[in-house]
Amino acid sequence: MEEKSNSRTDVIMAGLGGMGVLMAGQILAWAALKKYEHVSWLPSYGVEKRGGLCECIVIFSDQDIASPLIDRAQTVVVFDGSQLKTFEPRVLPGGMILVESSGLEDEQERRDYELVKIPGLEIAVSMGIRQISNLVLLGTYISIRGAMPSELIEGELKRRFGRKKAILECNQNAFRRGLELGRNTKK
């Protein structure tokens, strides 16, 4: 196990059911375990099978996590453009929202946070698999926020999909495209 870090990161991942929001959060949480003493992942969703609002909160820290449930986070990643308005209140002043640009129609209303638009779905479709836009967004988040070394995520992808090579590869590719995109966006 690597040396444990000395900071706290929190992020809300949000979108509609069926988009891989919860899984992106889980990958992040499991990756964080390698570096942080305290990690929490809290999902929240409705009754509908698909298309209902859905979110998860991921926190990793070297200190006790008082509550895995928080009102607002440093970063909010919105996986469905149409939901920006719904989740805008959830970012801390001075924080950042990463939003999927496809479906995005809402205007940014608050001015106290930074908004970054990511064409995750476009990239995923260009790669031939719509379902992996969640990893594109995860990659972008990692590289823009520097939440943790990207190797930790890569490791987690291997742990998770190691036995199914094709799936592993396409997830890796999507994640790396996201990282790249983040690096370009960041500057």
Binding site: Q26, W41, L42, G52, E55, S67, L69, D71
Partner: protein, 363 residues
Amino acid sequence: MAEKMFVQGNEAVGWGALYCGCDGFFGYPITPQNEVTQWFAHEFPKRGKVFLQSQSEVGSINMLFGGAAAGFRVMTSTSGPGWGLMQETISHLVAAELPCVIVLVQRGGPGAGSIRHAQMDYITATRGGGQGGYKNIVLAPGSVQEVHDLIQLGFHLADKYRNPLVILTDGILGQVSESVEVKTIDFGPLDKKPWALRGRERQEDGKSRIVNSAVGVLPLPPYPNYISWLKHIEEKYREMEGSELRYEIYQAEGADLILVAYGYTSRVSKEAVNMARAEGHKVGMIRPITLWPFPYSVIREKAMLGCKFLVVEDSLGLLIDDVKIGVEGRADVHLVGILDRHIPTDGGMIMPGRVFEEIKRLL
């Protein structure tokens, strides 16, 4: 030998049970506890232990009645309507003095209510929802680690007192993943259940046993009649009250306002206390770990010092009655309850920000 794992609260139920020698799990599907049942379906049979899906929650709880009577460590888990269905037999379990563990992952009520989290079964858990008035020790974990730990303590206390025991969690604590140290906790020795049914020839004394819950109809040795047996049950309750009280006090020294909460809202409250302390307010928290017996004395002590109370409970107000009994009119008791939920997604939850707001209003 401890093992570190990142697991959901619902899965921690399973790991806790496995590591303290649970022999059998009997359950029926219901949201939001399905992960518990599924954990046992996957992990128990391959370890030679019993997992059985019952035909209903009435089935599950009566399977516990049989399994416990036969001397095994048995458990179930349920939620909402399933909890309602178990009430008759929980009362029989108390009357027949059969130890077992019932995990209640609370969802919204009344009725079928909501399939998501809530904290609305406090009264039925702490005062007995079935016939005839009885008590179960109720343990309320506040973290995934504590779910794992209290399941083990739960089996120990159930066996020690020959009484069913309730682990009261909620849909949020069931869903959240945290890292957990998984290991066997030693609580000391217990007798070998000399009262259990094993078949006469396996009894050490070669004598047959009866286990029943109708002591007023067919007297059970050693109790010559109904009233003498009731006296015994009552004495057992007094003993539990005397020995098993557990609670956590957080930042309550010299506080002007004390939050009282258990389960997921205790985490939310902790965050709110931190927020308040960060702004210099004297705010603390009392977290009952045993909901019955309840730490009335601790509450009373603080009330005498003149502080206010704020109960944070995802219900219309149930725990608050116990806090009121504790303060005996000496202090104001307020509630942040289910109607104060914030709605980030369907149904909503009580958020730290809302609690902090109320703290500021009250100070």
